[in-house]
C-alpha cells in the first residue's frame, strides 16, 4: 500500500480538542501566574504543561502553547514584576530563562512527538504488510481448500474407476468361463467329426468291406467312455442276426444267433431305441456271448435300429459289463451312431452295386469296342478294295474312250463324238469322286500329327505348281503377316487346295478370279481368310455348304465333298471353318487354326 494512504490512516489530533486544551491550559496558567501569584516569581516552570502534549500528541498545540507562554512570561516579567524584584533579576534575564526553559522542553517534546509519529507510520506500514500477509495467507488457504476439493473429487473418480474395473474384471471372468465351456463343446464336436471322417474314409474302397461297421462301433465306444465295453452292428438275415462289425474290450461273439428273443429284434420291430439297465432282470432276452468269456459277460445293453433301403434291417448294440441306467445323452450318442452306420452301410451297398454295374459295363464296352474295331477294319478293307476295284474298269473306260477318239474319230458322226466326250467326262468325275471319298474317310479315321507349319510356304508351293492359280488364269494375293500355325501338313494342304480351287472355280464367266489371303491373329489362334470375287453364296445355302455331297450349282463341276473334307480336317486339327458371303459379292471363307507355339 502507498505511503499517502498509510498517512491518511494514521492518528490525527482533533482541532476542537487542541483548541480547548490550548484555551484551558493558557487560562489555567494565566490564572496561576498572572492572577494568583501575580507578584512573585514562581518556581513552577512553564515547561510542565507542555508535557501534556506527550499524552495528546499535537505539535501545533505544543507550539501554540509555547507561543502563549512566551508572551505570558514576557507580560509578567516586564509588566507585573519589575518593582519588587531583586536587582540581580532583571526582567529580561528572567524572561530569557523562562523562554530557554520553554524552548528546551518544547524541542524535546517536539522530537519525541516526531519519533512517535514516525513510529506510528512504521507501525501502520507493518500493520499494512501484516494485513497483506494475512490476505495472502487467506488466499493460499482458499486455494488450499480448492485443492482439497479437487483432490476429493479425484479420489471419488478414482473410486468409481476402481469399481468399473472390478465390473470389467468380473465380466472378463464370465467370458472366460463361457469360452472354456465353448471349447469343451467344440472339442466334443471335433471328436464326433473326427470319428465321422474316420468312418467316411472307410467308404473309399481302400479298406476291405466290413471295416466301416467296425469303425462305427469303435467310434460309439469312444463317445460312451466307460459306460460300455462292447459294441456290435448286426443285420437281420432271414431268422438270424449276422454280425457285420464289432469292437470293444470284451468283443461280441461273431457267430450267427437267432433273431427271435433278442434286444435287436425288439428295436427292429418297434423301430426305436431300447435299453436294459440290468440284463439279469430280463431272463427272457437272449444275450449274445462274449467272444472270449465262458460265463455271461454283459450286464446292461442299449440298442438302436439300423435302416437299410428305408427299412429297419438291423441294430447297433452296445453292452456294459456292469448294470447301470442309461442316460439320455447315451441314448442320443447311440442313435446318432446308428444313423451314421445306416448311412455308411447303405453307401457301401450302393457303392458295391455301382462297382458291379461298372465292371459289367466295362466288359460290355470292351467287347463292343472290339466288335466295332473289327467292323471298322472290315469296312476299311472293304472301302479300299471297292475303290481299288472300281478304279480298274474306270481306267479302262476312260482309256478306251480316249483311244476311240484318237484312232477312230473320222468314222464317228457328231452325235458319236459328243457321246465319247460325255463318257470321258463321266469317267473323270467318277475318279475324282473316288479320290475325294478316300481322302474324306482318311481324314475321319487317321490320327493327324500336328507340327508348326508356315502357311505361306504351303500356299506359294501350291500356286507355283498349278497354272490354274497363276496369271493370266487367276490372281492370288498373299497378304503380309500370315503367322505359322500348328497343323497337319497333309491336312492343311488338302484344306488350302480345296478352298483355293473353289475360289478360282466359282466365278462368273469372263471374270478373272482374284483371291486375297490374309490372317487375323488372336491370343493363341489364327484365322485365315480366303476372299474371292466369285459368284457368292445365298445365306440360305450357307448352312448346307460344309455337308457331304452338297452341290449348290449344277453349272460348275464338283463332287460335293471338298468343303465337307475341309471342315472335317479343320476340326480334326482343332480348328473350324466358316463363310461370309452374298450372291454377286464374292465369298469370304475363313479357317481357324491353332497358332504355332
Amino acid at each position: 500500500m502507498p505511503i499517502q494512504s498509510i498517512a491518511r490512516h494514521q492518528w490525527r489530533p482533533h482541532i476542537a480538542i487542541s483548541v480547548t486544551l490550548l484555551v484551558v491550559l493558557t487560562a489555567a496558567m494565566g490564572w496561576l501566574r498572572l492572577i494568583h501569584y501575580r507578584d512573585q516569581p514562581l518556581s513552577l516552570t512553564y515547561g510542565l504543561p507542555l508535557l501534556l502534549c506527550l499524552w495528546y500528541p499535537s505539535r501545533p498545540l505544543l507550539w501554540s502553547l509555547v507561543a502563549s507562554f512566551v508572551s505570558m512570561a514576557a507580560y509578567k516579567a516586564f509588566v507585573l514584576l519589575p518593582g519588587d524584584m531583586p536587582a540581580e533579576f532583571s526582567p529580561a534575564l528572567h524572561w530569557s530563562f523562562q523562554v530557554v526553559n520553554l524552548l528546551s522542553v518544547a524541542v524535546v517534546v517536539h522530537l519525541v512527538l516526531r519519533s512517535l509519529e514516525s513510529l506510528q507510520v512504521k507501525n501502520a506500514q507493518l500493520e499494512h504488510s501484516n494485513q497483506e500477509l494475512i490476505a495472502r495467507e487467506e488466499e493460499i488457504s482458499r486455494q488450499n481448500e480448492e485443492l482439497q476439493a479437487q483432490t476429493e473429487e479425484l479420489a471419488q473418480q478414482n473410486e468409481e474407476i476402481q469399481q468399473q474395473s472390478e465390473e470389467v474384471q468380473q465380466q472378463a471372468e464370465e467370458l472366460q468361463a463361457q469360452t472354456a465351456e465353448l471349447e469343451l463343446a467344440n472339442r466334443a464336436l471335433e471328436r464326433r467329426q473326427a470319428l465321422l471322417e474316420n468312418l467316411l474314409q472307410s467308404l473309399h474302397g481302400i479298406d476291405e468291406a466290413g471295416d466301416a461297421p467296425r469303425r462305427a462301433c469303435e467310434s460309439v465306444l469312444t463317445l460312451l467312455g466307460d459306460a460300455a465295453v462292447s459294441a456290435a452292428i448286426v443285420v437281420r438275415s432271414g431268422g438270424e442276426l449276422v454280425v457285420r462289425g464289432s469292437a470293444g474290450r470284451i468283443p461280441v461273439s461273431e457267430e450267427r444267433r437267432p433273431l427271435a428273443g433278442s434286444l435287436a429284434a425288439i428295436v427292429i420291430e418297434h423301430r426305436r431305441t431300447a435299453a436294459i439297465a440290468d440284463l439279469r432282470l430280463r431272463p427272457d432276452l437272449l444275450v449274445p456271448a462274449a467272444a472270449e468269456a465262458d460265463g455271461p459277460a454283459f450286464r446292461a445293453s442299449l440298442a438302436a435300429p439300423l435302416r437299410l433301403d428305408g427299412q429297419p434291417a438291423g441294430a447297433l448294440e452296445v453292452y456294459s459289463d456292469r448294470p447301470h441306467e442309461w442316460t439320455r445323452e447315451q441314448f442320443r450318442i447311440v442313435e446318432w451312431a446308428a444313423a451314421q452306420a445306416s448311412l455308411i452301410l447303405e453307401a457301401r451297398r450302393l457303392h458295391d452295386r455301382l462297382l458291379a454295374t461298372n465292371a459289367s459295363l466295362e466288359t460290355q464296352v470292351r467287347q463292343r469296342t472290339l466288335e466295332l474295331q473289327e467292323l471298322v477294319n472290315e469296312l476299311e478293307h472293304f472301302s479300299y478294295t471297292i475303290t481299288h476295284d472300281l478304279r480298274a474298269p474306270l481306267r479302262a473306260m476312260h482309256g478306251y474312250a480316249g483311244m476311240l477318239e484318237e484312232e477312230c474319230l473320222a468314222s464317228l458322226n457328231e452325235a458319236g463324238r459328243n457321246y465319247l466326250t460325255r463318257i470321258s467326262t463321266a469317267a473323270r468325275r467318277m475318279d475324282q469322286l473316288i479320290t475325294d471319298a478316300l481322302s474324306y474317310s482318311k481324314a475321319v479315321r487317321h490320327e493327324l500329327k500336328m507340327t508348326p507349319i508356315d502357311p505361306v510356304r504351303l500356299l506359294r508351293g501350291m500356286i507355283d505348281s498349278y497354272p490354274v492359280f497363276q496369271p493370266p488364269n487367276s490372281r492370288i494375293e498373299l497378304m503380309e503377316g500370315i503367322p505359322s500355325v500348328l497343323a497337319n501338313e497333309a491336312g492343311l494342304t488338302q484344306c488350302f487346295s480345296n478352298l483355293l480351287s473353289n475360289a478360282v472355280k466359282f466365278v462368273p464367266s469372263g471374270v478373272t478370279p482374284h483371291v486375297r489371303i490374309r490372317a487375323e491373329r488372336s491370343s493363341n489362334a489364327v484365322r485365315l481368310w480366303f476372299e474371292d470375287n466369285g459368284i457368292g453364296i445365298a445365306p440360305a445355302m450357307q448352312p448346307r455348304l460344309f455337308k457331304m455331297f452338297q452341290r449348290l450349282s449344277k453349272h460348275y463341276d464338283g463332287t460335293g465333298i471338298g468343303l465337307a473334307l475341309v471342315r472335317k480336317v479343320a476340326e480334326r486339327m482343332g480348328g473350324r471353318v466358316g463363310v461370309e458371303s452374298e450372291p454377286g459379292k464374292g465369298s469370304r471363307f475363313w479357317i481357324d487354326l491353332n497358332a504355332a507355339p
Binding site: Y384, G399, Y400, M403
Partner: protein, 146 residues
Amino acid sequence: MTMTRQRPPLLYVEDEPDDVFFLRAAFRRVGLPPDFPVVEDGEKAIAYFAGEPPYEDRERHPLPSLVLLDLNLPLRSGFEVLEWLRSRPEGRTLDVIIFSSSGRPEDRSRAAELGASGYLLKPASGLDFAAIASELKQAWLNPDGR
C-alpha cells in the same frame, strides 16, 4: 525276238487284261517291243521265276531283268511275290517296280521295306500309260539312250 535278246526283257505281273492292253499300246506308241510276257497272278509269277511248269523252258520264258508288279493280285499278292523274290539269291538283284493304283503311304513304305526298286502309280486313264512307258524306256529299258 531279236530285241529281247539284245535288251533284257520285261515281265508284267497283272490280272487286269485292260491294263495289259494299255501298256502294250503305250509301248507300241513309244517304240518299245510290245510283246513282253505277262502272268496273271502271284502263284504264276513265282512259278515263272522258279522255272516251274509251265515255265521250265528258259528259251521261251527267259528270266527278265525288270519286273512290273501289280499289288492287288489273285492267289498271292504283289507283296508276297516281292518278298519271295527278295528271299532268293537270284531274285535279290532283280529290278522290281511296283505298279499299283494304290497311293496309300503304307503301301509305298511296305514296298520300300521289302526292297522294291521303285513305285509307279497307275494313271487314272488307260490313255495315260504312255507316260509310264516313256519313263520306263528312259530309266531302265534303254539305258544306252540316256
